[in-house]
Amino acid sequence: MRLQLVTTHDPQPDYLDLPLRQPLAEWTHLGLVEFPIGIHRHVVRFVELEQGLFALKELPGRLADREFSLLRHLAEEGVPVVEVLGVISERGDDLEDILITRHLEFSLPFRFLFARSGISSLRESIVDSIAVLLAQLHLVGFFWGDCSLSNTLFRRDAGALAAWVVDTETGELHDQLSPGQRELDLDIAQMNIFGGLLDLEASGRLPSDIDPTEVVENLANRYGQLWEELTAEQSVEFAQRHLIDARLARLNELGFDTTEVSITTGEDGSQIRFRPAVVEAGHHARELERLTGLRLLENQARRMLNDVRSYGAWLARRDGLELPEAVVAYRWLNEIFEPAIDAIPPDLRDRRSPGELFHEILFHRDALQSMLQADVSVEAAAVDYASEALPTSVGERSLIEAD
């Protein structure tokens, strides 16, 4: 038996306690958890251990090694992928290798999103989240080859969704993708998502107001618009140079950072052509982490940065003194964010990730202020949210639901 493990900050379980010399499909281990995992080529099972919930996939060694490398590479590139922890090989009796990944906490499988009436508002953002994920992958030269609802996990991100790559078996890494490769990847995604939605429809679980054809056409449109915004060369009059700054601001607002902008001028100098070099998604998430140490999703981070700025403006008005951004952020963390989270009873904190909890508290405060026509503190909103809204919601740390 051979274990190839990634060194992580979080403790890894002692995998040798698992029945690794048996085919995964035949395991009867106590910690096995049945999950709605969608359609997969290989045996995939989930095991709950002291250190958390882990996904185990049995597949030929060559493929396991390849997927291990691809997932690690994509994670290093900042693409949202499930965390890969290791590969177990040489299990004897011609057994295939096992690829181990950590289950993505607070993730929502697509069947859950369609089955729950209470989160129908999130369905709208499935398409957006997949379009963003595909664009992120394509920017780093990754051809997925099998984007589907089954191969994607979703997490709440400030009232919308963020999508995660779960399976990279068919993926290919290139220096850069050609337009044809991107087009094929999008075609495959459209076909797979269309099939997945028709399958839900056949099972009677697709809400009647969702038209699968419309969904996949929207995906192509959203992806096309996003790619254009991220990469297209733009031509502006010399006098309209401010449009370059506006484009870069829009890219930041979309969550993407740029490292350089290539600018060329026409022969008579009246025209400027420019193209941004987009490097990485997660603009707001990185900014929030720099200021507060919090590692949150992009939309959550954007919302919190707005709250940090509002808090800074309020402090400046109250004290008549502009504080440096880092000081404001530090005080916001200690005086706003942490007290709000602490106001949630510990037994309810598992229902959402901390970032989403805070977003929902702010959302709740907005509703309270609107109803009461008065200012409500974040901490007071948190107490009300914890007693009125959170107890009726489903815990999503390790969402388990029969398929």
Partner: protein
């Protein structure tokens, strides 16, 4: 249906890497052509250029009579197939086969006609109302194939479609795809790194290495008359045994002698008469190759002693219908240039022979092995090209 023509196709990446060099291929209508070669040989790049997924740096690509260098992938009337075997569990076989046509907004009666036609070809007519769970493993695979068939493209392009499957299913699917392609008669280009897959599936096989076409021919011709050392070693499993030795011709007997380390093998006069080019190598070094099946346990063969060699047996693999015997000789092995092959260069070579299962050769014995000298392949040591004439 269509022909596909690659005319002096080149691919140079922005970093200067020249992936494909002057590739010429004429793929006939209805032909099943396999592109094969070791990793990095350019086979997937070539396929991706046909699909429109990579730009062509230089040269001309035609599908039918149309030059398609600048035609969008979706307008080339080709289908990249079998990338995804997932079947949808709640949908019937009928819907699993036909849902892509719904997305393409194909007319309902046309959709129905194509699904039923595909089902007939795949022998799934009786299963159209069933769910995937009610099908056998093989039937499920055929449903996935049906999904590609109903699109009715002019050509299928397949890039290592079986690489994610386990060994047993791969063998089964190999046969299914090959027979289906012949029934459909759709021009197909298939990429694989597996020479067994290439040999068993293709009407013709194109062997690539380092972006250069090495040889394109029928599987049997590639095997029997490889044009160079690389093809000789790459095609066939186990590989051809390659050595460097000296050929000496005897003008009296019209026979030759070929050195194998400290041993010699007699080359009959008929062999030399049929390959006059060998005369130019009298007294000189050349590369030669012996396929495993062109050797036999000498106790089961009637060849004279001067066509036998000896070596210590290091491994015996009993495969039922045959045994593979590995034995050492004191001759330097030859590197065929296959980056995926493991060759331990040195003063001794391990030779693999495919023997009759009645052989009683034992591990660690010195085996006496008869060589079918008339089947030896010869190559020029500098050009590494075959000397068939």
């Amino acid at each position: 249906m269509a022909t596909i023509t690659l005319d002096k196709i080149n691919k140079v990446y922005p970093n200067g890497f020249h992936a494909i060099h002057d590739l010429d291929l004429d793929i006939a209508d209805t032909e099943f052509l396999v592109l094969v070669g070791p990793s990095g040989c350019g086979k997937s790049t070539a396929l991706r250029m046909v699909a429109g997924l990579e730009e062509i740096t230089e040269g001309e690509l035609r599908i039918g009579d149309r030059i398609v260098n600048d035609v969008e992938p979706k307008d080339r009337d080709i289908a990249m197939v079998f990338q995804n075997y997932a079947l949808y569990p709640h949908m019937s076989v009928y819907d699993n086969i036909g849902f892509a046509l719904k997305l393409a907004k194909t007319q309902k009666d046309e959709t129905d006609r194509r699904i039923r036609e595909a089902a007939r070809i795949l022998e799934l007519d009786e299963q159209l109302d069933r769910k995937p769970a009610q099908l056998s493993g093989g039937q499920r695979q055929r449903v996935a194939m049906g999904r590609a068939i109903v699109r009715q493209p002019a050509a299928f392009l397949m890039d290592e479609p079986l690489s994610n499957l386990d060994a047993k299913l791969r063998v089964q699917m190999r046969a299914e795809i090959a027979s289906l392609q012949r029934e459909l008669g759709v021009t197909t280009v298939y990429v694989t790194h597996d020479q067994v897959e290439a040999m068993t599936m293709g009407d013709r096989v194109a062997v690539l290495k380092d972006g250069f076409l090495q040889q394109v021919d029928t599987p049997q011709s590639l095997y029997d008359r490889p044009e160079n050392v690389f093809v000789a070693a790459f095609i066939g499993s186990p590989s051809m045994n390659l050595f460097e030795g000296t050929l000496t011709l005897d003008s009296d007997t019209q026979q030759g002698k070929l050195t194998l380390g400290s041993q010699t093998i007699s080359i009959p006069s008929e062999v030399l008469a049929s390959r006059p080019a060998l005369a130019a190598y009298d007294g000189q070094s050349l590369i030669y190759g012996i396929r495993p099946e062109d050797m036999e346990d000498a106790s089961l063969d009637t060849r004279p002693d001067d066509q036998c060699i000896h070596g210590e047996v290091s491994l015996v693999e009993a495969l039922g219908a045959e045994i593979l015997v590995h034995f050492g000789v004191d001759a330097a092995p030859v590197d065929s240039g296959d980056p995926d092959a493991v060759v331990e260069l040195g003063d001794t070579a391990v030779v693999v022979g495919r023997f009759n299962p009645r052989s009683r050769i034992r591990l660690r014995e010195t085996a006496k092995v008869a060589v079918h000298a008339e089947r030896i392949s010869f190559f020029d040591p500098s050009t590494r090209l075959a000397l068939w004439d």
